[in-house]
């Protein structure tokens, strides 16, 4: 934040005027951003084309005329003015780093709250609204208050079939939906360093569910190995000061962690899976910016290989990006899932926020690898959503009810 504000140091609580390195907008918010620009009579953006990334992911391909028209308008205005990824690339928070628009130390904002995902790469990355985004497009800057930081010290090794989704659900359950309100989360310790890039993205992604402004992992060799082939600029990691002061330290022993489930209707309503095994499900969703990556699809395929999902369950899979989709296709993962009875969608947000495919009916229960389970989040107000890891989702699809992935 100091670098972005052109200062040597900044203090907690200080308000800075920060230059924005990257702004991301999805096709969901872009029509209203365009309404704003038209209301202001502005045709030209102040931010350069390579700093503004617009990604089509929420309702693609469009399933209604109003959406098709809105998307057409966005395409027509923004093509040539920004870096635009149309509907054949993937979910915004996966695409931004896959395509090399994220680097350690950057200051990134996005008109979607899960923009925090980029913190996995050692960037400061936060969600903003669409009018705020309009302001950024026209000024290249944003005001931010420097947050206090909570250190999340992770140690030990997760057991088989326990994954970073379980760790972040556990943390949110422990600190609560406002436990990190206005604060940064810094994920540290051997547990953080040993975590894959995909795993780090899961944890950073859900920082916002505890109210977090940012959720950061220090950039290390894993970060550079992932980004270097994708990023054209030289990469310079930002490390925490050795004498950094944290407001609080939360310790997580990963070795002792059981699979976790967030029960209806809040994300912090978290319990170990054993508390809810046996609850009947109608839908199992695997995908989203939280858990739609190759390792997520692979663990589900490992559990479902040669078996059939329960006759009472619909399983829907949406890989997070075309790159993921192709990799899963080529290594047999998608074939395994299809043969087990799953439906594979194009990479898109699907019904994570009831905007597209796989809507829940009245009285239905879903177990989902997504990030929010508010009432009505995935369809009917009379439906229920349990949030869980990909392994738990797959084990449950097999059983026809919520099931412990360690036991199948």
């Amino acid at each position: 934040m100091a670098r972005a504000a052109g200062k040597e140091t900044v203090a907690v609580g200080e308000i800075v005027d920060a230059a924005v390195d990257r702004i991301m907008i999805t096709e969901r918010q872009a029509p209203r951003v365009l309404d704003n620009l038209e209301a202001l009579g502005v045709q030209k953006l102040r931010m350069a084309k390579d700093k503004v990334v617009i990604i089509f992911d929420h309702e693609v391909p469009p399933s209604k005329i109003t959406s098709a028209n809105a998307q057409k308008r966005v395409r027509e205005f923004f093509t040539g003015k920004v870096t635009l990824y149309d509907m054949n690339v993937g979910i915004c928070h996966q695409v931004l780093s896959e395509k090399g628009h994220v680097a350690p130390g950057m200051l990134i904002v996005g008109s979607d709250s899960h923009t925090v995902t980029n913190g996995a790469f050692g960037a400061f990355s936060a969600g903003i609204g669409l009018t705020e985004a309009t302001g950024v497009l026209l000024t290249g800057k944003i005001w931010l208050r420097v947050p206090p930081v909570i250190a999340v010290e992770m140690s030990g090794r997760m057991s088989d079939r326990v994954s970073p989704k379980d760790a972040i659900l556990y943390l949110i359950g422990r600190v609560g939906a406002d436990g990190a309100q206005y604060k940064g989360l810094e994920f540290r310790g051997t547990g953080a360093r040993e975590m894959s890039i995909a795993g780090r993205m899961v944890m950073s992604n859900m920082s916002v569910e505890a109210g977090g402004k940012a959720g950061i992992f220090e950039a290390d060799e894993k970060t550079l190995a992932y980004l270097s082939p994708r990023v054209s600029e030289p990469l310079a990691p930002v490390r925490s000061d050795s004498d950094a002061r944290y407001e609080k330290v939360v310790d997580i022993d990963l070795a002792g962690l059981a699979p976790q489930v967030a029960c209806p209707h809040t994300v912090d309503n978290v319990v170990p899976v054993d508390n809810v095994t046996g609850r009947k499900i109608h839908d199992a969703f695997l995908g989203s910016c939280t858990n739609g990556r190759l390792e997520d699809l692979e663990i589900a395929a490992e559990i479902l290989k040669g078996r059939q999902i329960h006759s009472g369950v619909r399983m829907v899979v949406a890989p997070a990006s075309t790159e993921t989709y192709l990799a899963a296709m080529r290594n047999g993962t998608l074939e395994t899932l299809i043969e087990a009875g799953a439906v594979i969608l194009n990479p898109n947000c699907a019904s994570c926020a009831s905007m597209h495919m796989d809507i829940l009916a009245d009285g239905e229960t879903s177990i989902s690898s997504t990030n929010r389970n508010f009432r009505g989040r995935r369809g009917s107000r009379e439906s229920e959503v349990y949030l869980a890891s990909p392994a738990t989702v797959a084990a449950s699809a097999l059983a026809g009810c919520i099931a412990d992935p360690r036991a199948c």
């Binding site: 903003i128 939906a177 597209h356």
Partner: protein, 171 residues
Amino acid sequence: MLLIKGNAWVFGDDVSTDDIAPSVYLTQYLPPEKLKEIAMEGIDPGFYKKFHAGDLIVAANNFGCGSSREEAPMALKSLAVGVVVAESFGRIFYRNAINVGLPVVACPGISERVANGDSVSVDLETGRVTIEKTGEILQGEEKPEFLLDILRKGGLLEHLRQTVVPELMAE
């Protein structure tokens, strides 16, 4: 303009932006008159029918948590909510509210002292919140001048229109 008085509708902790503007409506790109009708539908269906223009919303912790959807403060603005006073807010909702010209004030202690229908007045400039039935005055957050400026102008768009757009047009 920054002195607001009205009758309160009281909510609890962790009212999400899904509660305020349910997900299912977002790709319908509803205009203001339609957004008004879905305001608070996730937690209180039909809220717009009983709400009177100028009434206030009072809430406990973390009001507006979750998704960054600006349709949430837009819906409350369409409903003509005078101000939202809460123990605390989700950060993105807080910023979005100011940006669309919906006054918001964080005020510790408010949620225990107000019941549905109570009259409350709010001085946005000082952050002071008065509970009319008892005369008690609570000290809410004092905003930096640049945020008060945006609220006085009615939102960020108007601020951009006055400051940034003339510069851009001249370039």
